[in-house]
Symmetry: C2
Amino acid sequence: MTETDTADWSDRKRGAGAKLVYDTLRDEILDLVLAPGEPVDEAGLAERFSMSRTPVREALVRLAGEGLVTMLPNRSTVVAQIDYPNLSAFFDALTLMYRVTTRLAAEFHTPADLAAIRLRQEVFSRAVLAGDTAAMITCNRDFHAAIAEAGRNSYYLQLFLRLLDEGRRILRLYYYPRFEARLPHPYILEHEAIIAAVEARDIDLCDRLAREHADQIVRQIQEMIASDRRQHIAL
Amino acid sequence: MTETDTADWSDRKRGAGAKLVYDTLRDEILDLVLAPGEPVDEAGLAERFSMSRTPVREALVRLAGEGLVTMLPNRSTVVAQIDYPNLSAFFDALTLMYRVTTRLAAEFHTPADLAAIRLRQEVFSRAVLAGDTAAMITCNRDFHAAIAEAGRNSYYLQLFLRLLDEGRRILRLYYYPRFEARLPHPYILEHEAIIAAVEARDIDLCDRLAREHADQIVRQIQEMIASDRRQHIAL
DNA sequence: CGAAAAATTCTTGTCGACAAACTTAATGCA
DNA sequence: TGCATTAAGTTTGTCGACAAGAATTTTTCG
């Protein structure tokens, strides 16, 4: 990611232009490289990626479809705001998706799924050990996404991925600055318990563990937001 | 809808082109005017709506984002197939969304929401009385969408709408041909019971009624598909 | 006659340009 | 000076055109 400014995409395959812009912008939005509310200029992006405005526009339309940017008619496109008023709805849906995807994973997982899940847990643990908060956020996402994929329900998976990505922005805002790397990090242990419950195909236990895991994450985020609010008021 | 072929959209506002194509195609896909797998030609649509390919393309990209069409790279765009292998996942998600949206409606509904829900139920009843199956399908959708809106959770609402729309295609395929208008149609009574439970803010009852309602619909669709399979095998 | 190869036709992906709508700067008037 | 109006400058939405890739037809050779 250190060469984004100087990279040269002059030789790219037909049809890859829009995808490149889409992937890049998506990452930058979720990593808060592009701040919520920041305008996204089509001509500027076209110049940056050295292509015409047409594929850039296609990428923006797709991002708008996922709610990551807002296209104001005849006006600029802006990075989507974080919807604080609907935060409780977000937490509600996130918790439910944690639960149902883990339940379904217990029901439908294959050995290959379990291996993929364990791999993600491995990577997540390394991120925790290294104290790399940014990696922790994405690896935690990948871990639960792997579980959701084992559940074999594309509708839940899609909603879950969207919620996890939206959460990535919130975590970057609030979680990142105040993380302390005390080991063993409780999330590692909770993940291990979830893996065991999935492998044992214990649906009720999966539901309970996922719910507790989700509740803890939600509680932590809410506390961080609250303390952040207090700080802002104090200043 | 009788003038789609001869209509003249030569004078339309800037920015309305893509939306017009999007709305029209969306309706035609969900109403099975465009059959699953049917190719969608950009140039043809451009000529039909008397506009350039650019806004047509934007509409197709948006439709692809919702999974209503599939854009094959460097090849034609086709209307999305109905995903029979994942039908059980569809029913699972549909049932869950029926339940959670009705629960949340019991919790968060306002008098205005109740009025909107009752209005939808009124329209639905008229469709049943008239024996208008096509109208029944959309009115049933609108009824449950109104309940979901009262639940104030945009994530659930969006997924629910997508599932209901996908179900619209399946119902058109299987339900439409073999409907018999016996009154009082059980769905009307079930809807009435759900409205009463929402108004009473009885969350557990809402959950139970929604689950039974969903199970009945799912069972009916599965039976129709099964009997249809038998017919096809017999032939 | 049949199959591989070549040429043609057709559709998509990308481009540069232009006009409409919005934003900002400049001007005029009370 | 302050505010409304006008003019200039951006940025978007749409268009026609062209080139790349795929599908189809025609040609060529065994």
